[in-house]
């Protein structure tokens, strides 16, 4: 069981300084619009994954006018006590576990696990392929330490290769030997990433199917990984060399992978209704929780941003039965009345107003 007991924020988003104790069960974070509800659970996500689910610009997380942001938590993973800290500054980020800095973020990731349900999830299906790669990468980063390392190496080498391609394109260089070397190095990591994504998606699908059936009554969902590099084809980079030079960028590789969803053989992106998309994203995230439980033997921390309160009572109840009763859950909502608290056993309500706690209340009595 993974639980965050205490969270401290310094200069994170609208929060100047905050310290808060959480319930090991359900935490409902309420408040008007733009007060900091999402930011609070974004902080939890960021502390665990070392990246935000909302932005790729780490410095956007630093409170305007400040130099750094600091997220600190006292947490538990089973019997093990964890003290986690992430410091974000313009120079980069530092991940600290039990007061020791982890030089490689890949060694820090996976100490805790989170699954986030957010309004942005709709883009997971509707948006560009990069959204789907992001979903896969964020999940795999929590599952496999080597994956994070390989992905970082791949990105670094991709940048090197692209810079060299630009020089070749502009005829500032004619060094094809260097291009070969960079392609060879890139291929080394591309192969590993492609393989891990393939295995992960194959496993994830087995968890998605039954959940999707339970939510929609339908059995016709298909998920297909479409790797940009063909199986075992180490000639891919070589084959595209001329195109790559002409365009001044690398046109094949994991950074161009796609993952496609089909209902009854039809691509979901094109045909699905808003409701179907919502069901599918819910099923994907719920499957991820099952994946963590079965493959990693951990119950992740569950973050529900706005998603829960947008469901009607019937669906809220449905979702709650699908979620693990033993998990620590965070729910944000503008209206407490939107949540049927009668179905919850233990919960804590935390009311947020412009980056401060306005009130805290355990089980019941009105705020």
């Amino acid at each position: 069981m993974q639980k965050i007991e205490t969270l401290e924020l310094k200069h994170f988003r609208p929060y100047d300084s905050l310290r808060i104790d959480f319930s090991p069960n359900i935490n409902i974070i309420t408040g008007d619009n733009a007060q900091g509800k999402t930011s609070l659970i974004e902080a939890i996500f960021t502390l665990v994954v070392t990246k935000s689910h909302k932005t790729t610009f780490d410095t956007a997380l630093i409170k305007e006018g400040d130099d750094f942001a600091k997220i600190t938590a006292q947490a538990k993973n089973g019997d093990k006590k964890l003290h986690l800290q992430l410091v974000i500054s313009k120079e980069g980020k530092k991940a600290i576990h039990n007061h020791i800095e982890y030089k490689r973020l890949s060694d820090y990731m996976g100490l805790l696990n989170v699954v986030m349900f957010a309004p942005e999830d709709l883009f997971l299906i509707k948006g560009s392929p990069s959204e789907r790669r992001r979903f896969i990468d964020l999940a795999l980063s929590q599952i496999n330490r080597h994956y994070v390392y390989h992905l970082n190496q791949y990105r670094k080498l991709l940048k090197e290769r692209n810079e060299h391609l630009k020089r070749l394109q502009k005829k500032k260089s004619d060094d094809l030997i260097l291009l070969d070397v960079l392609s060879e190095q890139l291929w080394h990591y591309a192969k590993k990433i492609t393989e891990k994504r393939k295995v992960f998606l194959e496993e994830l699908i087995t968890y998605v199917q039954p959940i999707f059936k339970a939510l929609s009554g339908k059995n016709d969902l298909r998920i297909e990984y479409e790797p940009s590099l063909l199986d075992g084809c180490d000639k891919s980079y070589k084959n595209k060399q001329t195109v790559d030079i002409a365009l001044g960028t690398t046109t094949v590789g994991p950074h161009r992978d796609e993952c496609a969803f089909f209902f009854a053989g039809q691509p979901v992106r094109k045909i699905a209704s808003q409701g179907q998309i919502r069901t599918l994203t819910l099923a994907l995230k719920l499957a991820l929780i099952d994946y963590f439980k079965q493959e990693k033997k951990v119950t992740p921390i569950i973050l529900l941003d706005d998603v829960f309160s947008e469901l009607d009572r019937h669906h809220q109840k449905n979702l709650l039965t699908l979620l693990d009763k033993k998990a620590q859950i965070f729910i944000t909502t503008t209206e407490l009345a939107n949540i049927d608290v009668t179905v919850l056993d233990h919960y804590k309500v935390i009311k947020i107003k412009s980056g401060t706690i306005e009130g805290v209340d355990t089980n019941g009595s009105d705020l």
Binding site: E160, H164, S173, L178, V181, Q185
Partner: protein, 199 residues
Amino acid sequence: MDYPEALSLLIEQFMRYPGVGRKTAERYALYTINQFSQQDYEGFQTALKRVQEEIRPCSNCGHLTDQDVCRICVDKTRDQSKILVVEESKDVVVIEKTRTYRGLYHVLDGVISPANGIGPEELRIKALLTRLKDAAHEEVILATNFSDEGETTALYIQRLLRDTDILVTRIAYGMPAGGNISYADEITLNKALEGRKKF
């Protein structure tokens, strides 16, 4: 609050060093003012002046020296058949301390990294090829760091020498991935040298 101009200038000079930010630079500058005697100032000035005037890269291998050709290059008792290729001069100093290696060196002055604007032509790779025309040299040992750039550089030189009869070897992974030659301990370096293999 601003420092007087002369002090600000000194702080800025210290900030040029890698890993030194404003705070550390301030500490160094204030230490200088509070602790330096007249003699210390003179010592510092002389040292700076002397490195500027006397120290230059060896015209043969690129290692820093106060001669035209460095002491290692002129030493004919050293094994002329081997050239060990490193990124920086300080790698030579570290490897020399192990006393295991008795061949020659070649300092590249960096690593290939197009993303940082450094192509092969910015490094002393041509100079290496020129040196290798001398038949006395039979083996090139690549000892760049095991970072991506170090690996790119090693692979690149290997490719250039692929069709020659020069034996190309790479020091073995006796060190953690991403490790820096200059920070490795002697035992690790010895192991890495002993375990070098065809590359």
